[in-house]
Amino acid sequence: MIEETNEEFREEYRAMNRRKVLFILAFILLAAGAFFLTLGFGVYRIGISDAVGTFFDHLAGNPVDPSDDYYVWDVRVPRALGALLIGAGLSVAGAIMQNDFKNPLAEPYTMGISSGAFLGATLNIILGISIVPFISGTATTVVNSFICSLIPTAIIVLVAKYRRLTPTAMILTGIAVMFLFSSITQIMMVTAPSETMADAYEWRVGSLSSMQWEYIPVMLVVTLLITVILWFSSSKLNVMYAGDRAAQTFGENAENIRVSTLVLVSIMTAVLICFTGTIGFIGLVGPHVARIFVGSNNRYLIPASAAFGAAFVILADTVAKVSGPNGLPVGVICSMIGGPLFIWILVRQRKSAWM
């Protein structure tokens, strides 16, 4: 009798897991579909089927129309790949942050990464300063923002080393660091001429328009590597979700896991946003929607967030491409979807762990 019930439970559990895997597969299919869909959108006029055809023609090695080929293969494909990677990477980062801080409103930028990245980018866009000598030209903004975006995390890790920081205190420290960096950026912004100021502002909003083939390998390798590492440590992360005390009883030091995942997530976020600017809300939206479908088990949540985030950003970018006079930065679309969604999460949540 007991045997049977066990068996039933096991069966049900397997079915549930199968369902989760199916959801993940569905998200992946959605992202792939969106990838082909987005190739047909933009200012340059080309139908979706023609665009997809051009894509496969290029893969097969015999591009037909050089101008079609240029706009599809050299402009839209890297942009679409960039969207997939940004979406996947930031969503995973968001999932980890929410898990680490047991806070539904945590996201990759909670530690102030965005403000650091923005400071670095502004240094070049407005003042023309390169932090690393010998770098010039279009790479400067990227390198600057990458380096600066790691400073806030470094500060928090350092503070955490000397003071015991509760998750809440860590978040607050992140906000404080963000204010510090923003005030420096603000000085540059208000004294800049209007066109460079506009450039800087747009960088903060975040756009995929500067995506190029050269950027893809770095983004791909880092995102893939870190996501895989995080996925393999999902059981540890799950334990942490149960609380610091619970983690201790399982023999895990919650603080160590928190700090090390924080560093990993920061690196991934920094690598992604230094190419695109600080696109917001992905890290909040991705994991939330994924969690509705697959629950909080990180083994499923991480891949599901990645797949859903990728699909979300690529669709948002498709919308961005067709709205506005000649397109809009994708960051605007993300925040227009993300802002109301945030309110919805809040209403659903009712009570929360923030502060």
Partner: protein, 363 residues
């Protein structure tokens, strides 16, 4: 033996009490003197050859109705002092005082040391209103031009306030929910602000951004009546409520057991604060950190009794904004909002670091 000890303690207490009183008086005096000093500095030292003595002379002559020969240095100095420096300094005082007392109220009411007048999303609403006027030229009222921005900002700021008032009927409003709701509202407005900002041209973007940062430049006498009336009326009410605020800062349960209708009171405070803040930011833009920093500075010195913190932090806020304004003035093209955030953000950082484990406690 015992008797003696008690006597000692009583003496000690008495002495400490005197000390505390002395500290309060000293702090208030310092603030007031500082305000006088900076008002002087702001109206002074602007015209070469017009020193302290001459400035008083000019002011005195203006009151007497004497006029200087047209276009002379003293004539310009007179115009400058009355038309630019005084409204400017007065606006700094009023804005600083109003934001500081609102900050005090928020921190006590929310039982959260990090709350400030902008925590409920008022600033983003105001910002959205102003940017609508600057970028799209949409006016929510019949008013256009310079005042169109002000009116828009004011109406925009009232949206979050109304929203909270209406939601309060449906949701149980804990301080945490309120702050979260504020965050959500500001996210919502910010996304629309971002949309407006990226679709406009570079020059308009710049003026919109400048408004957002907050500045006291170009303040005229016309702007002052509303700011002053709202601030004076509002702060009198806050001071009358300060003992109730003390009870609130002990926490919701204690407040209830001491007979305060917590929710009604909180709602009332929120509306009061919304009106005060809106009246200020619609003229100045979103000058940050005063409401956060000024009350903390005061509490550090005199403790957290709101009956004293409220008025003294008004003085401190006014002084702080005046000083920041003076610094901004020295750099000529930097708006005061930037100076405030340069001063305020490290202080915020220190508040976080100093804070003990019991997040939420106010000293």
């Amino acid at each position: 033996m015992e008797y003696e000890e008690e006597e000692l303690t009583r003496d000690g207490l008495k002495e400490e009490y005197h000390h505390a009183i002395a500290r309060k008086i000293i702090l208030l005096t310092v603030c007031v003197l500082g305000i006088v000093l900076f008002v002087g500095l702001l109206s002074l030292s602007n015209y070469e050859g017009v020193g302290l003595k001459e400035t008083y002379e000019i002011i005195w002559n203006h009151i007497l109705g004497n006029e200087y020969p047209s276009k002379s240095l003293f004539w310009w100095a007179d115009r400058y002092i009355w038309n630019t420096a005084f409204p400017h300094a007065l606006a700094a005082i009023v804005a600083g005082a109003a934001l500081a007392i609102c900050g005090t109220m928020m921190q006590s009411m929310m039982v959260n040391p990090l709350a400030d007048p902008y925590s409920t999303g008022i600033s983003s609403g105001a910002c959205f209103g102003a940017i609508c006027a600057i970028v799209v030229g949409i006016s929510f009222s019949s008013v256009t031009g310079e005042m169109g921005i002000v009116t828009n900002a004011f109406i925009g700021a009232m949206v979050p306030a109304l929203l909270i008032v209406f939601l309060a009927q449906r949701i149980h409003m804990t301080p945490a929910t309120l702050i979260l709701l504020g965050t959500a509202i500001s996210y919502f407005f910010n996304s629309m602000i971002t949309y407006l900002m990226v679709t406009t041209d570079a020059d308009t973007l710049q003026s919109a951004y400048m408004w957002q940062v907050g500045s006291l430049d170009g303040m005229s006498w016309d702007s002052l009546p509303i700011m002053v009336v709202v601030t004076v009326a509002g702060s009198v009410i806050v001071m009358l409520l300060s003992s109730k605020l003390n009870v609130m800062s002990l926490g919701e349960n204690s407040a209830i057991s001491l007979g305060v209708d917590v929710e009604k009171f909180r709602l009332f405070c929120l509306v009061l604060m919304a009106v005060m803040t809106a009246a200020i930011v619609s003229f100045t833009g979103i000058i940050g950190f005063i409401g956060l920093v000024a009350p903390h500075m005061v509490r550090l010195v005199i403790g957290s009794d709101n009956r004293f913190v409220a008025p003294i932090s008004m003085a401190a806020g006014a002084l702080l904004l005046l000083a920041a304004d003076y610094i901004a003035f020295q750099f000529s093209d930097i708006p005061v909002g930037v100076v405030m955030s340069v001063i305020g953000s490290p202080v915020f950082f220190l508040i976080i670091l100093w804070q003990t484990k019991k997040a939420g406690a106010i000293y």
